[in-house]
Each structure stands twice: as C-alpha cells, then as structure tokens.
Amino acid sequence: MKKLWAPGAFVALIIAIALAAPLLGLADPVKQDVARRLSGAQPGAWLGRDEFGRDVLSRLIWGARMSLAVAFSSSILAGAAGVALGLLGGWFRGLGELFAVRSMDIILCFPPVLLALLVVTLLGPGAGTLILVLSVLYLPGFVRVAYAETLSARSHDYVEAARALGAPTGRILLRTLLPNIAGPLLVQFSLAVAAAVVLESGLSFLGLGVVPPAPSWGLMIRGARATMEQAPMLLVWPCAALTLTILAHAGDAPEAAPD
C-alpha cells in the first residue's frame, strides 16, 4: 500500500490547482496577443505563448479545470444512476434485474468513441454533450459493480439482522448495504474519471469536444500540432499534463498492480 500515496497525492494536487485556478492570478486563458504569438518562456508567461499569443501555463491550468469538471460531473452522474440501478437490481432481482442490469450490455456493444460521435452529430459539440455522453458510457461499469457487490452482500448476516430488526428497504439499501459496497465503487469511480479524461481530451483533440476558445488539454494538443516545427514544447506540456494525470489515477486504483 505504501506505493499508493504518491499517485494519490498527485491527483489531490491537480484537483487543488484546478479548483484554485481563479485565485492563482493567472493571465486570461482566452485573451489573444497575436504580436507575441509562439514567444518562449519569459516572466509573466512561464511556459510561453501559443499560436494566438495566449498564455500556455494559464491555459494548462484552466484546461485541467475543464477536463476535471467534465470528468467528475459525468462520473458522478454515472455513479449515482449506476449505483441506484445496481442496488435495486441486486436487491429485488426478477424483472427489475433484467431491465436495470442486462440492458446495460447494449451500451457495451458500441465502441465508446463511436457512440460519443453519434451523439455529438445530433446535439453538437460542447461540454454539456460531453457530460451526457460520458455519463451514459460509464453507467454500465457502475451498474455491474454495484449489482455484483449487492448480490454478494445481501445474504450476509448484518443485512439479515437489519431486515430482522424491521428496517425499511430504503434504509437497508442506503445505510446498510451502500457503505459496505463503497470500496469497489470508489475504485470504479477513479477508473471512470481517468477514462473520462482520456475520452474528453480525445474528442476535443478531434475538434468535437470542448468548444474553442475554452481551454482544454485536447484542444491545446490539436492547436500545437500545426506549429510543432517552431514550438515543439507547446505540444509537450499538455501531453505531459494529460499522461501524468491518467498515470496518477491508474496508480490510484489497485487494478494497476497486477501481482
């Protein structure tokens, strides 16, 4: 377990910086300064300026805010709905189980990026569309984990005891079962956030996610591709930020340790 504190601390640091973005006295991430486009590092713009003369450090941090906001809101939505469906399916079984759990297999029939592109075609790109698509895509994962854990926990003595004491079903589900299955669900949440960051940046990279000029790591990589000859570092910063964030999230989850 001692290996795990470092990635956890890194995730916490990124979240803290993203939350504190307005307080850090950064330059306006969307303000253009074409006269100083692609200028290198200098006081006031520590990582230089991009192809429109926007401050790269500021865009990196505001981009983290955007990526994490999208990833966390979609994972929370998917988690809330998925846990509800999984708990109900695992507790009541029967027909509800069929609808709540088996129907999720349909979402898994689609390669995720393609389902996302289909929805973007209909609704147009933007953060709202992203949150909707990502929460649908990560719903099955939460349903499966919550369902499997509920099935194995429901016959335990402490659940029987709560039932024998006459606790209402809602109380058993939320106060007895939920806290006991929270561990695997948190792991699932961490995985969903990491996957959402990857997919959000991928779609933004294709120009179909976050709408410019709002900062996003995927958009920054997209923009820097055109100027990689003159300013290769513009490409390296968002790539590094993205990879480190995902690496830290993966390191957070025990799944990453195969032994």
Partner: protein, 317 residues
C-alpha cells in the same frame, strides 16, 4: 460444437439487430425535431424551408414504424442511404475505406501479440528481474498515455525532430509496397500500444499462474524438456485469458483507430466519419458507426470461437 456455434452466431445477429435499432432510435429519442436539431448552429433560428427539405430527405414525414422497416430493409440490402452533403452513397464510401481501417487494426493487433506475448512470458519466467521491472513499468506507461498523445509524440520525435519516418499519409500497396509499409508502421505502433501492454500483463499473470500448477509439475516430473513444458503446457493454458482480454479490448481499439487515422492522415473510415460529424451528415455517421460496431461484434464472435477451440470446457457449457 455445431450447436454451440449456431447459438453463438444467433446471439451475435440479435445483438447486431439491437445495435441497429438503438442507432435508429437515437435520432428520434433526442427531444425536439431531429431535422431542426441537425440544422441548428447554436442559437440562430433555422430556415424552415431547409428543415422541410431535410425532413423530406431523411423520410421523417413518414410514420415511425415505416421508417424503421425501410431502415432495416436498407441494411439487409447493404443500402445505408446517401450523404446529406454530396448525395454520394454511404455504402460506397465505406467499401472504399473499410479495407484500409481493417489493415490498420490487423497490423496493430499482430504487433501487440508479437511483442506482448513473448515479453509477458519472459517477464513471468524471470519474475522480479531487470527485464520484468522495465517491461512492467513500460506497460503501465503505455496504458496511461492516450493513443492520440502517443501518436502525436511519435510524429514529433521520429518525423519532426529525427526525420527518420514520414509524418503520415498513405500510398496504395500496388503503387509502392515499401512506402506503403513505411507509412503503416507508425499508426500501427500507436494502435498497438495499449493492447500490447494489456497482452503483456495478461500473459505475464497467466504464465505466473500456470507455472505453479500441478499439471506443470507433473509434466516436469515425467521428464519433458523445459521448452516442451513451456509451449505445450504453460503457454497453451495461458493463452485463453489473453484471448478473452483481446476481445474485451477491441472496443477501445476500434475507437482508437479513429484517433490514430486522424493523427497520421490515414485515409480509413475516420476521415469521412469526422467530416460527417462536423457537417452533421447524419446518414454518413450512422453508416460508419454501424459498420464499426458490426465489426466489433464480428471480432468478438471470432474471439469466442477461437476461445472455444482452445478450451473444450467453453463448448460443453
């Protein structure tokens, strides 16, 4: 085996039907008039004449059931409708580009198996050694780095800075085979990255599991050569979990090809797909999404058949 196979194929067909139905329904499930939605460009009012024309084109005036049936009969005839942008048949566009996407997927899968499996087996047999540590760390990195980031960095490093490889493009194999495969190399590596890492981890874990089993001890005890024990007993038994994981990862792989083709200008299905999403060219998007999802189902079917061929217990159940 025949009965099992028959049932498995039937399941795949049923899933394909469900996928097609879901795709058909997405257009009608979103609130509001689909035609108006497709023409809307943030805030600005849509032109009623254009909306009426699009409704006509997509057949939205007809009863829903009627639309659904003609959508399905079109699918069985291989007719996916025409592009809204240039009226070109969607199926012809797909027929032209699908082989190129398939080539990329095949090359990527082959690369990941060729590198991932031996590396995984070697790492397991020399567990904790230098190779194991380096390869495991590399796998963790490859899993974390998004496919388009790796692709872009490969271009930056190998094409832009070192000038070893072309940055991207495509040459038909009939025209210049050498150049064709040079251009295939980088996108195939980018596609293979995640899969190779997963194959590596799975092989390592299942070889580690297999070498401690009784049947391996027995095989050794009866005097089989170490190489024969490894190939016939350890690797054969380690293969099934690897196949399962390959099947499970195909969705991510197919999604990854969209990004990789874009990074390397590989003219597969992703070019018309992205152009169509941007232009809100609904029939084109639906055609390509259905094709790739169908491919996904087909690959999973093939994986399951291979799985059953390797492991008799699957057929029996």
């Amino acid at each position: 085996m025949t009965r099992w196979l028959f049932r498995r194929i039937l399941t795949s067909l049923a899933l394909a039907w469900i996928v097609a139905t879901i795709v058909f329904m997405t257009l009608h499930l979103v609130p509001g008039d689909p035609a108006e939605l497709l023409l809307s460009t943030g805030g600005a009012a849509t032109d009623p004449a254009a909306v009426a024309e699009l409704r006509e084109k997509l057949g939205l005036e007809r009863p829903l059931l009627d639309q659904y049936l003609s959508f399905h009969s079109g699918l069985t005839r291989g007719d996916l409708g025409n592009s809204l942008v240039d009226d070109y048949p969607v199926a012809s566009e797909i027929a032209l580009r699908l082989p190129r996407t398939l080539e990329l997927i095949l090359a990527g899968t082959a690369l990941s198996v060729v590198f991932g499996m031996p590396a995984g087996a070697y790492a397991a047999l020399h567990r904790g050694g230098r190779f194991d540590r380096i390869a495991s760390a590399t796998a963790a990195f490859l899993l974390a780095v998004p496919v388009f980031v790796l692709g872009t960095l490969l271009v930056l490093l190998l094409a832009q800075t070192l000038r070893l490889m072309p940055a991207g493009g495509y040459t038909p194999i009939a025209q210049n085979p050498a150049q064709h495969f040079t251009l295939l190399a980088l996108p195939a590596i980018a596609i293979a990255k995640g899969l190779a890492a997963i194959v590596f981890r799975m092989t390592r874990a299942s070889v580690l599991d297999a070498i401690s089993r009784d049947f391996v001890r027995t095989a050794r005890a009866k005097g089989l050569s170490p190489a024969r024990v490894l190939v016939r007993h350890v690797l054969r038994n380690a293969l099934t979990p690897v196949l399962t994981v390959l099947g499970l990862q195909m969705g991510t792989l197919l999604g990854g090809t969209v990004l990789v083709e874009y990074v390397f200008n590989w003219p597969g299905l992703s070019t018309p797909l992205l152009r169509a999403v941007e232009a809100r060219d609904y029939p084109m998007v639906v055609g390509i999404v259905l094709t790739i999802s169908g491919l996904f189902l087909l690959i999973n079917l093939i994986m399951d058949i291979l799985y059953a061929a390797l492991d008799p217990r699957v057929r029996a159940s």
